[in-house]
């Protein structure tokens, strides 16, 4: 038996064909819900991640309620550092919003610049978290198994940190994909060379400065040298990724942006529920 032939009115067919021909990004919206499938999947994932972080946050708060006074978080926490981290993550969220806007405007150099800023700010946040954890473990003796507070605190903030690290990695993929395919083409874009220079040198400068400020802690120097060597290697090794960014990938950048904003949203809750509330 043959299936009944569905006839699409000519004008509608023309309109959809026309949309697909003029803007591939618009063509992706042609779903039964009117929302792009990738975006829909990301929102569903974020809804599930809300529940995931909800359980981690409630675990921490419940143990703080059941066993109060086990630790003195005011003695542990540095509100200056955490406040700075919050500022950094909020700014990265702002830059991510500008990244998505530039991607929609087909402004590739602008998108790259904002994306680079977002990644740098994400890396600064991660650096702050590594510093905080190292300080807690070495100076305060708080480990994953030293107390209930340590267990719930590290699991919650560590899970968030892993989310940030994955986000940085994801955004770095799109940054590399938006670069010219051939290394020879880099010379044609002076702003790009400047961006890459900042991306390469600024973390090294910050880490080397921290080495001198923080009593010659060798970890800062090693991290600085590590980034100085790693970044050119990443650029060279990303040959198959470079130049793959197309107009329709603006949606992928937007989806990555949703994930990044969610990470920021979770930090807004953690900042209040885990850090600020302890000062009351």
């Amino acid at each position: 038996m043959t299936e009944p032939e569905t006839t699409i009115p000519e004008n509608i067919q023309d309109m959809s064909d026309h949309a697909a021909q003029t803007d591939p990004l618009e063509a992706l919206k042609a779903t039964s819900t009117g929302v792009e499938n990738k975006k829909m999947a990301m929102w569903a994932f974020l809804a599930s991640d809300c529940m995931f972080f909800g359980t981690l946050i409630s675990t921490h708060l419940i143990y703080r309620k059941i066993y109060p006074g086990v630790e003195d978080p005011q003695d542990l926490f540095s509100i200056e550092l955490t406040g700075f981290s919050s500022f950094i993550l909020l700014m990265s969220s702002f830059l991510m919003a500008l990244t998505v806007s530039a991607a929609h405007k087909r402004n590739i150099p602008g998108m790259r610049a904002f994306l680079m800023g977002t990644i740098l700010f994400g890396m600064i946040f991660l650096g702050g978290q590594v510093y905080e954890f190292a300080h807690f473990v070495h100076d305060k003796g708080l480990t994953l198994s030293s107390s209930v507070f340590g267990s719930t605190f590290y699991v919650l903030t560590g899970t968030h940190g892993v989310h940030v690290a994955l986000g940085v990695f994801w955004l770095l993929m799109w940054f590399l994909a938006s670069l010219p395919a051939r290394l020879g083409d880099f010379r044609g874009e002076r702003s790009l060379l400047l961006q890459l220079g900042i991306f390469w040198v600024s973390p090294v400068l910050v880490l080397v400065s921290l080495y001198f400020v923080k009593h010659h802690e060798i970890a800062y120097l090693l991290a600085g040298i590590g980034w100085g060597i790693l970044f050119p290697l990443i650029l060279l090794a990303s040959g198959s990724l470079r130049g793959r960014y197309k107009r329709e990938n603006a949606l992928d950048v937007e989806v990555a942006g949703l994930y990044w904003h969610f990470v920021d949203v979770v930090w807004i809750i953690i900042f209040t529920a885990v850090y600020l509330v302890e000062y009351l």
């Binding site: 929102w43 809804a47 708060l61 909020l90 702002f94 919003a97 806007s101 949703l258 600020l276």
Partner: protein
């Protein structure tokens, strides 16, 4: 063959671009407001007023920041309502779970095992 409408705009004259330009100022204002709120949050914990007032203020301020990010930065304001509904389902279940669990447990008089 159907002819393309002549008035179809080129990307450079796309009204969509005008909307994106307007968004820039919205994003900037939201970001500045959130920095201000974060600063207020940090200051407010040192103000010697009743704990309940400070706690309530912190909850309200973090809620405002939360909503600002999802509404403007995550484009829920401009996207279809379906995205908002989908996210809110997860958010309500999570909030309900946290609230219920907080009321289920009481302080252990025997102290911490660790």
């Amino acid at each position: 063959m159907t002819e393309r409408p002549a008035e179809h705009p080129e990307p450079a004259f796309d009204p969509h671009l005008k909307e994106e330009h307007a968004k820039y100022f919205t994003f900037f204002n939201v970001a500045m407001a959130m920095i201000l709120i974060t600063a207020v949050e940090i200051v407010i914990i040192y103000i010697p007023v009743h704990t309940v007032i400070v706690f309530s203020s912190l909850m309200v301020l973090s809620l405002v920041k939360f909503l600002a990010v999802i509404w403007w930065f995550m484009h829920l304001r401009w996207d279809r309502a379906l995205c908002t509904i989908l996210f809110m389902i997860g958010l309500f279940i999570a909030t309900g779970t946290v609230t219920a669990l907080m009321f289920l447990f009481e302080q252990d008089p025997s102290g911490s095992p660790l």
